[in-house]
Each structure stands twice: as C-alpha cells, then as structure tokens.
Symmetry: C2
Subunit: 722 residues, 2 copies
C-alpha cells in the first residue's frame, strides 16, 4: 500500500497542470477583431449544441441509472457482501458518477479548445512555433483533464466503497465500482455519436455544396454551412473524443483491478488491486513531463523549418521512455516480479507499433496513400475502390501486433504463476492487464496530441474566414496537416489499446460470472466452467454471430445518419445561395445560425436509435441466450468492432491525406505531370475524402466507444444472464 | 440402404437433362450475321482466358496435391484404418478428383453459356418469352451440371473408397473423401478470384473511359474494352460461380456425412451416412421439375406483359414445395424420426427468407435502393456513403435469420437424442446438417437462375453491338434487369447456405480432431475436450482475431487487384482513342483483342497472391497455435466472411439497381421532378455502381469460396494441428 498515495497526488498534479495550461492559453493574444468575431460565432454554436446534447444525454442517463439500479436490486445473488437494494443504489450512484465525470471532461475540454482556437490563430501571426505551442497546450488541457479526472474518479469511488480498508472490503470494491465504467461509456456513446454525426454531416454537407458544386474553397465565409463545420470540429472531435477516452481509461482500469482481486485472494497482498491505479498515476506524471518538454524545452521544441510532427514525436518518445523506467520501479515495488515489468514493456512497445502502422497507412510518404492519389487519376470510382482496399488491408498488421502482444504478455504472466501460487490463467490474464496499463501510461500525452487536431483545424478556419494574409494561412495549413496525422495516430492508439484491453475485460466478466455462481452455491465444476466460452455450442456460436452483426448494423445507422443530416445541410445551403441575394459576391452574409440549428437538431435525433440499439441488444442477447453466449457476443463483437473501426479510421485518414497530398502540389503521374488543386484527380480525391469523413470521425470512433460499452454492460449486468 | 440407388439415378437424370437442354439450346437460331460476329469474338476471348487460367490453376493444384499428399503421409495418427503413404495418396487423389470435377463444371457451364448468348439475342427478335426460355435453359445446363457432377462425384468417390461395404469401411469413407472438398474449393478459389478480377476490371475500366469520360453508352462498339467486359461476364459470373457452387455442395455434403458417422457408430444404421446424398438427389429431381415447368408449362411460363422475374418465382416455389414433400418421404424412410423433417423444413424456409431479405435490399421497390437513388441527388459522396450504409445494414436480418435457423434446427435435432441413444450435441448438430441439406435441395434451380444473369447480360451486349433495332434492345434490357435480381438472389442464397452449413462443418472438424486424438491413445477427457473451442484461452482468442483479420486482408487484395487491372484497361482504351484515328466516328474498329489480352494477363497475375494467402494462413495458424485456436480461426473467420460478403454482395446489388432505377425514368425527387439517364444524379449513381462492382462480383463471391476453403483445409489437415 506504500505507493497508493501517488494516485491522488498525481491526479491533483494533473489538475494543477491543467489549471496552469488553461491560464497560460487564456492570457494569450486573441488576434484581430475579425478573428474574434468568427471565434465568437463558433463558440456560440458549440455551446448551444453541447447544452442541448447533454440535456438529452442527462435524461437518458437518469432513466438508464434507475433501470440499472432496479435490475441490479432484483439480482438475488452477487459476488459481493453488498446485496439487494443497497447494491442497486450503489451501482446506480457509480453509474451516475461515471456519467457526470465523463460529461464534465468532455465539456470542459471542449470549452478550453474553443478558447484556444482563436489564440492559435493569433499566435500564427508570429510564426508556426508559438502557434504549435499554444495549440498543444490547449489540447493538453483536455488530455490531462480526462486522464486526471478518470484517475481521481476511480480512486475516490474505490475509497468511498471501502477499497482502502483491506480485507473483504478491498476485495469487493472493484466489483462495486464497475457501474462507473458503464455510466462513462453510456455518456461517451451518445456524446461521440451525436458529436460525430454533427461534425461530419456539417463537413460533408458544406463541402458538397461549397467545394464540389459552387467551386469555392473550404471554410469560405460565403458558405452557410461553414460555421456549422467549425462548430463540429469542437463538438465531435474534442467533446466526443474526450468522453470516449475517459470511459476507456475508467473501464480498463476497473477491469484490471478486478483481475487483481483474483491474485489478492491468494497472496493477501492488496497491492495487486492497487497496481493498475498506481501505474497509471505514474504514466500521468510521465505525460506531464512530455508535454512540458515539447512546448518549453529547447531540444524538444519546434526548430525553424522543421515538420510540425517532429517535436511531438520527440515528446512522445520521452514520455514512453520515462514510462518504461517508472513501470520498472512500480512493478518491483508493488509486485516484486520482473516478468510483469516485461509485460508492461510489451504494452509500451505496442503503443509505438500502432503509431508506426497508422503512420504507414495514413501518411502520403508511403504506398497506401500514394496508391489512392494514383487511382484518382483514373476517376472517382478507382479512388473509392482503392481507398476501401487500403482500409480493409490495414487491419492485418494491427491484428497481428495485438495477437503477439496478447500471447506475449499472457505468457510472461504465466511465468509468475508458481511463485504466486495462482493458476496460470490468473497470472496470464493479469499479464495482459499489465500490458494494457503500460500502453495506457502515455494516454494523456496522446490525448493532448489528439485535441491539438481540431484546435489547429479551427484556427485555420478562423484565419481563412477573417481574411488574414496568405502567409499566415500557410503556417496554419502546415499545422492542420500535422493535426490530421495526430488525429489518425490517436485513433490508431485508442483502437490498439482497446484490442489489448479486450482480453482483460473478458477476463473480468468471466471472473464475475464465476463469483456469482459461487455465491449461488452452484457445484465447483459449474463455477470452474464459467471461464469457458465454448464456440462449439450452438447458442454460443449464434451469440458470437450476433455480436459481429451488431457492429455492422450500428455502423450502418451511424453512416446513414451522417448522410441524412448532410442532405438537410446541402438543401439549406443551396436554398440560401438561391434565396439570399448577393451571397456569392460577398455583399450579404449567409444565415449561419440556421445551418447550425438544422445540424444540431438532425444530429440529436439521429443519435438516439443507434445508441439505444447498442445498449439494448447486448441485454436482450444475454437474457435470451445466457452468460456463455453473452461472453462470445462480447468477444466476437469486440473483434469485429476493432477491425471495422480500423478499416474506417485509417481508411478515412488515408483518403483525407491523399486529397491533401494532391493539394500540396507534390503529386505527379507517371509522365511527371503534376496534378494539383482543381485537377480532375483532385476532384476525385475530394469525393473520396467525403466518403472517408463519416468513416473516420463518426462510425469509427463510435465503434470504439461501443466496444467499451459492451464490456461494461456485460460486467454490470452479468448476474442477469446466469 | 434402400434409397441409395436414387443417387446415381438422379445424377444420371440430371446429366441427361443437361444433354437435352444443351441440344435444345444449341439447335436454336443464332440471329443475324452481325450478332454471330460479336458472339464469335466473345467466345474467342473467353476460351483464350479460360485456357490460360486453368493451366495456371492446374499447375497450382498439382503442386498442392503433392504437398498435401506428403503432409498427410507424415501424419502418424489418423482416425481411419488407412494410414501413412496410402492415406496420403488417397487424399491427394481425392483432391485432384475434386479439383478436376470443379474445373470441368466451370468450363462446360461457361461453354454452353457463351453458346446461349447469341441464341438468346436471336430469340429476342421473336419476343421476351422465347428469349427468357432459352436463357433459363442455357443457365440450367450449368446449374444441373454443377449439382449433378458434385453428387455423382461424391457418390463415386464414396463407393471407390469402400463406402457401400458397410461396417468400418463405411465409417471411414467420408473422412477419406474430404480431400475432394479441399480440391474443389482450391480450384474454385482461383477460378472465382481470377474470373472475378477479370470481369470487374474490364467492366469498371471500360465504363470509366466509355460512360463517364467519353460519354458513350455501355457496350458501345467504339469502346476497346467492351469485348473484354462481355468476356468477363462469362469467365467470372459463369465459370467462377459454377466452380464455387460445385465446391459448396461437395464440402457441405461430405461434412454432413461425417456428422452422420457419429450417429451410425451408435445406431449401426448406415442410412445416417447416406442420408445427405439421398436427400440432395431428391432435391435435384425437384429442381429438374421446376426448371422444366418454368420453361414449358403454360401456368408457369412468362405471360405477356408480365415481369420476367415472376415465372422464375413460380418455378422456385414449385421446387421448394416438391422438395418439402420429398424431404418428408426421405426422412421417414431413412431416419424414421419426424423431427429431422422439421429441421429440413427450417432449411427450406431459410432459403425463402434469404430470397426475401435479398429482394428487399436490392430491388428498387423498397427503401434501401430508393435511399441510394435519393442520395445521388446530392452528389457522388452521399451516394457512396448511403450505399455503404445499406450494405452494412443489410447484414442484420441474415444474421438473425441464420441464428434462428441454427438454434431451431439444433434444438429439433436434440429432441431425437434419447431415441437414438446419442449425446444431445451429436443429434443437434446433425439437425443443423439436415437443415443445410434442406436449404441445398433447390440448389440446381437457383444456379440455373444465376447463370441466366450473365447470359442475358451478354445477349443484351450482342444486341447493342450488332446494331439491332431499339425494340429488341428493350426486351433484352428487361431480361438484363431480371438477371441482376437473380444474380443477387443467388449470392444471398449461397451466403445463407454457407452460414447454415458453417456449424455442420465446424462439427465435422471437431469430430475429426476427437477421432485423431482417440487414435493417438490420449485420455478420454482430452478426447472429449476436443469439442470445446474456448475463446477464454488467449491463443484461441488470438486465433479468432486472426480469422477475422484474414477475411479483411483477402478482400483488400481482391479489391485492389480489380482497381489495378482496371487502371491498365483505362490507359489502354484512352490510348486507342488517342492513337487509332476514326474510332469515335465509327470508321475504324478498336483493337478489342489487345484489351482482352491485357485484362487476362493482369487478372491471372493478380489472383495468385490472395489465393496463396488464403491457403497459407490457415495452415500457419494451425501449426503455430494448434487445433483449438484453429477451430476459433475457422469459426470467427466464417462469421466475418459471411457478414462481409453480405455487405459486399447486397451493397453492390443495391448500388447497381439504384443506377438502373434512375435509368428507368421512374425516379423523381421531392418536387416531383424526374431525374433520368444523363442527369447529375445518374452520374453519381454510375460511380456508385462502379464501386459496387468489385464488391458484388469479385470480393464478395471470392469470400464465399474462401469460407469453404477454410473449412476443407482444416478438415483435411486437422491431424497436423494436434
């Protein structure tokens, strides 16, 4: 228990760091009057949407909390000594705390991001380096808030439910707080869905009428949809992603603690339960150092003429190395067995592997993006076909990487089984949990890089709309391209950690099923069989099939929602071009607010159906086909979700960068002829990007939340399925 | 054993029927001289490609046969009394017999189809009814040849390996002939891949330069790629699909016989092994009656002014009803237990359900296709996004239908367990096998409808290219639209039967693993554990993940191949437009042969990599991760394959029919304005169709073969993985 104090301390440190960063960003110059005007309009739209969205989500969450509380109260048997109504209330409270914290981190993160946009635009007048520093610091507010809050939240709930008391109470506490993960993923699902639909409907809609039909540039003030598009970056990419990563870290952390219980029961050393909290606390500290170095230290900062990605790579490398050292210290102090250090290293290496794989598939330096650009020379059809092929292809390397990491960390864990006196499975699955914790150590740094993306995107939009000189636009363009890369990298990382975490979350679910069966007084062989998920049984196989099916249906609904809302925006912008005279000549301003309102209403309506589907289907499957089939549902749903999300995230990223590659003027055909902005190849690439948009910013990220939601629903409601 | 004589008799009957149909089609009028000229060019191109393709496949198959023979010879333990070198030789011979028969049915079917094209064109001058009859009879040649040959082939191999002798020999024979299924799927994979790449590269390539760039109609003789496109319909849709359905029926038949062995061992009634053969023999007879009625009987034939699909529906309904009656007779005669009749009915009902689901998602009468047409009003991007959403969405209903069918037929089977004195699992999985056999009963009728598609497509092309009057073109257009529907329906049916068959094939694999372990003298609990596929084990979970990963990577390679070969054709047609003077004015003919040759060479090169991947990965996974992980690889790979193939088949079909819907002139927007051929919406729909082409005719059907190949590889090589 010696190191547990690091958890609240590092959490507070993170919040102090957030305060410092926010203060630092907010005191900066807000640029010209025109810039401030544009920023104010964006701010207004974003706040209006977020208010309506979270009101809807709050109502859904409260209804869900009551239902869950009642369902859990009715469960006759439980693995903890807390039972009946009290268990129901505790679970509902944990659900609401998770939900509220998830909402809070999404909202505050977005608020600071919106405030950062205009300051980045302002700083861009002085150069790329200060603009990058402001953007990364603004992004770090969101990143550290999410990770810090998730750590403090889990810690406080754990303490509140008696986790520090040791003995039975410590053993029960992780099971009692799983509701928190469910609440967090519940909110994240709707936040990501609603925000994701908003951002891409606005983006696709205004691009279609603006760039493709009217032939005016992106972010052109004559386009009525352009403010909605900029609002979308904030509500989708910032608020949605923040909520998403909040629930990921919460769910994985609690899952790892549940696995620790199995070792604690034998060793009576409570450090096995605390370990996941402590190791993530150290990861938070490593990330603070990394961000601070990237934005302040001479060697790490952006050098003149350098690619904007480079300082972030140096900062990330520093964070990973620091995290490795800390992992060694924490493992040796708490677990006293070197094999788990190596399991942690497997996790850190996996995070780097996912970085490299994502870069290969989404950067214009390598074959995949170049092949899409090349296909664009033959038309839109080949562009789409090649983009889809790249998306499908890029699932192979992640699957193999995760496979190796899982088997490797599991094997490492089993090497400690004899020393610990536990079954090889118990030690092995804890090995995968340590690897996941290792992969999550640099999470705050990565999240900072992620929010960097929409901030610079918005800054670019503000610069363009405020009519700032070409010079400045060039600087923000370079940052925008870097932002695209960081967004793709984060999504790759998030999916990678979800894949690695999958096994630990299954393990936690199976542990819970076994515990409940034991509490029911079932025979020992039935309890033992709880850890078997036998695909050879017909209902288990059907459960697996339904899990994969849900993933595809959910993606379909998300994609369709984007298309339907985008159609409304297309119609509205066309109507404004037609009915408001002088828009095209710049004499009259379009009615931005109306476009923002149409997008908001459409997205909020559209998010409900896929959200309820995601919550309802796993419950129905569990009740009808029972616990073992539910496990297969969860596992194969997770596999399908990880793979389809990878198709969508990286496929979308590759399409986007193929378009940007052509726009850069560096793309030429076999004869050496350059095809740039405005060429037929560019037009084809713009359509490809339009298709990739809902892939990478709506369906893909929503799938990521869905996977986590499946894990937490099954974990909380497991007793219903037995 | 009383009914086994029906098998050779029905097989011969089918071949006689094929002979009659071929004679009937070939004696028909071949149309005008211009028609014959075009047909001759197509024939030449198709034969040239098929020769080169099957030469490549033959070499690959012989190498594979030797490798398999050696691998099997080295296996020390086997479930049969045949061992060592003799087992190796028998397996290699079975492999080559399967390969040769698969190739034969592909080639002959295609040959007759190519001969039918021009006769349909000729008959179209007299009206739609005679053209439909000729096309369906031409298609039936392929259909009955494939199903008849597969039945006779399995029967003869079974007899040759001692199956009729009863006792140990009958028990061993199904295991000894599994190599035949492997050989058939091996050839089918390359046939479908090579043909699928050819047909869609040619189609996409010539559409892109012709329809989109040069603005000339489809099948216009000025387009150098147009003959390659027409050749493609024959080598992809006819030869490829023929080989595919040949291996499906073989693999599923043998798998069902292996499951029968488990009941035979207890009941000592050899009818449990014969049943799958006999029931399919009756299905063949039902299909003969169905096709004969549709093309000859007054009530069933096409009435004047009627939709061409209607007579085929009546014929299909007749076939299903007859099959149901026969199923009752065969079950009561051979198995003596009514529950299996109901399991068979589940299969027949499932085949109808898949028909209805596919129709809903691919016909312009319902929401999905209409939503794609509507999205086209807003541009290409929305068309693609909506099409993808439809594709993703349409997986849900099939998954649920198969889930219900599997659980239902399994449950029915278990009701017979006590009476038979076998374990519930053994009877249950045999129930799913009976359902699959039920679903396969109308296979020959369906395959006839399938080959009908490319025949009428080609006939339309011949009519267009030979400059026949508009009147005739209208008739063949109506048939072509019906052909699109039949092709979509067949693919839906094929995937549905694959999904239903999946569980029986897994069962056969697990049975084989158990038998080998028993032969190795392993303890009883290890043998019993062979039927458990525990996803809770890390290597089993990783195997599952790799299975899904292979599906996506394979699809990527197939899609990319189409894109790359299409690019070559685009370049070639562009070159001919540029360099051959007077093409556009119709003064000079383009060099069709060169385009055909480029397509052929490109497709043959492109088919090798994905093919070897499909064969190699399951072997590597089995050897590294062992038998249980291999089972999960197979199962989750199958789930992913079925779902992704459904996305691609029906998504592609929906895109195609959205385009056709706009071309029909019946599509109008909310204001009532009609958008027809040549409108912006039509242009967007043409691009969507281009994207859907490799989905529905290359990757989708190839995935279907891949699933079967996985099942047969694992079945043959199971002892290597223990």
């Amino acid at each position: 228990m010696d190191l547990i104090w690091v958890v609240p301390v590092s959490g507070l440190l993170a919040l102090l760091f957030v305060g410092y960063l926010a203060w630092d960003v907010l005191k900066r110059d807000k640029g010209t009057k025109e810039m401030q005007e544009v920023a104010a309009t964006i701010f207004e739209g974003a706040v209006a949407f977020i208010k309506r969205q979270y009101l809807t989500i709050a109502i859904l969450a409260i209804v869900a909390a009551v239902i869950i509380g009642v369902l859990v109260s009715l469960e006759q048997f439980t693995e903890t000594n807390v039972k009946g109504m009290e268990l129901g209330i505790r679970t509902a409270v944990a659900f609401l705390v998770g939900a509220a914290a998830s909402a809070l981190s999404g909202i505050i993160g977005m608020y600071v991001a919106v405030q950062s946009n205009v300051r980045v635009a302002g700083a861009a007048r002085k150069g790329v380096e200060p603009a990058l520093a402001v953007a990364l610091r603004g992004g770090a507010v969101s990143g550290f808030l999410v990770v810090g809050l998730s750590l403090i939240g889990v810690y406080l709930m754990f303490v509140a439910y008696g986790g520090l008391a040791g003995g039975e109470a410590a053993r029960n506490a992780p099971f009692l707080i799983v509701g928190m993960g469910f609440g967090a993923s519940f909110v994240a699902l709707f936040a990501q869905l609603g925000g994701g639909i908003y951002t891409k409907a606005a983006d696709v809609g205004s691009d279609l009428v603006g760039k493709v039909e009217a032939g005016i540039p992106e972010d052109d003030p004559r386009n009525a949809g352009v403010i909605a598009d900029l609002v979308g970056d904030n509500v989708g990419d910032c608020a949605g992603r923040g909520a998403d990563l909040f629930e990921s870290t919460v769910a994985e952390n609690i899952g790892a603690m549940i696995l620790g219980v199995a070792i604690y029961v034998v060793t009576k050393n409570v450090d096995w339960i605390f370990f996941p909290l402590v190791v993530r606390a150290f990861g938070l500290i490593a990330s603070i150092v990394g961000v601070w170095a990237t934005t302040s230290l001479p060697f790490f900062k952006l050098n003149p003429g350098e690619e904007p990605m480079n300082p972030m790579f140096r900062g990330f490398a520093l964070t990973v190395v620091l995290a490795g050292v800390m992992m060694y210290y924490v493992v040796m102090q708490m677990l006293g067995n070197i094999v788990f250090f190596w399991a942690g290293v497997v996790g850190l290496v996996t995070s780097v592997a996912f970085f490299l794989i994502t870069m290969y598939y989404t950067e214009s330096r390598w074959r995949p993006v170049q092949s899409i650009a090349k296909a664009s020379l033959r038309g839109t059809g080949p562009n789409i076909i090649t983009g889809l092929a790249v998306g499908l292809e890029n699932t192979a390397a992640p699957v193999v990487a995760v496979g190796i990491a899982l088997i490797g960390s599991y094997w490492l864990g089993t090497q400690a089984a004899v020393a610990l006196g536990v079954a090889p499975y118990v030690a092995g699955v804890f090995g995968t949990a340590v690897a996941t914790m290792g992969m999550l150590m640099p999470a705050a740094f990565i999240l900072a890089m992620d929010t960097f993306g929409p901030i610079v995107d918005n800054a670019g939009g503000i610069v363009e709309m405020s009519g700032a000189p070409e010079e400045i636009r060039k600087g923000t363009d370079a940052l925008d391209a870097a932002g695209n890369t960081t967004k793709a990298l984060t999504k790759g990382y998030a999916i990678g950690s979800a894949a690695l975490a999958a096994f630990l979350l299954f393990g936690a679910y199976l542990d819970k099923v076994a515990e409940v069966r034991k509490a029911m007084g079932l025979p020992a062989e039935v309890v033992k069989a709880s850890h078997t998920v036998d695909l050879g049984k017909v209902e288990v196989f059907v459960g697996a099939m339904l899990g994969a099916g849900l993933i595809f249906l959910f993606s379909a609904l998300a994609m369709r929602a984007v298309s339907e809302v985008a159609e409304k925006i297309v119609d509205e912008v066309r109507r404004q071009f037609r009915e408001i005279p002088g828009i095209m000549e710049g004499k009259n301003k379009p009615d931005y607010a109306r476009a923002v309102d149409i997008t908001a209403r459409g997205s909020l309506q559209a998010m409900v159906a896929p959200g309820l589907l995601a919550v309802g289907v796993p419950i129905i499957v569990g009740i009808v086909l029972r616990a073992e089939a539910e496990a297969a549902f969860l596992m194969v749903g997770t596999i399908a979700g990880i793979i389809l999300a990878t198709v969508m995230n990286n496929g979308g990223g590759a399409w986007d960068n193929a378009k940007k590659f052509i726009e850069s003027g560096e793309f030429h055909d076999e004869t050496g002829k350059v095809h740039k902005k405005g060429s037929d190849a560019h037009k084809a690439a713009v359509v490809g990007d339009t298709v990739g948009d809902p892939f990478k910013d709506t369906a893909g990220p929503s799938l990521h939340v869905l996977i986590k939601l499946l894990a937490t629903i099954t974990l909380v409601l497991a007793p219903l399925f037995i």
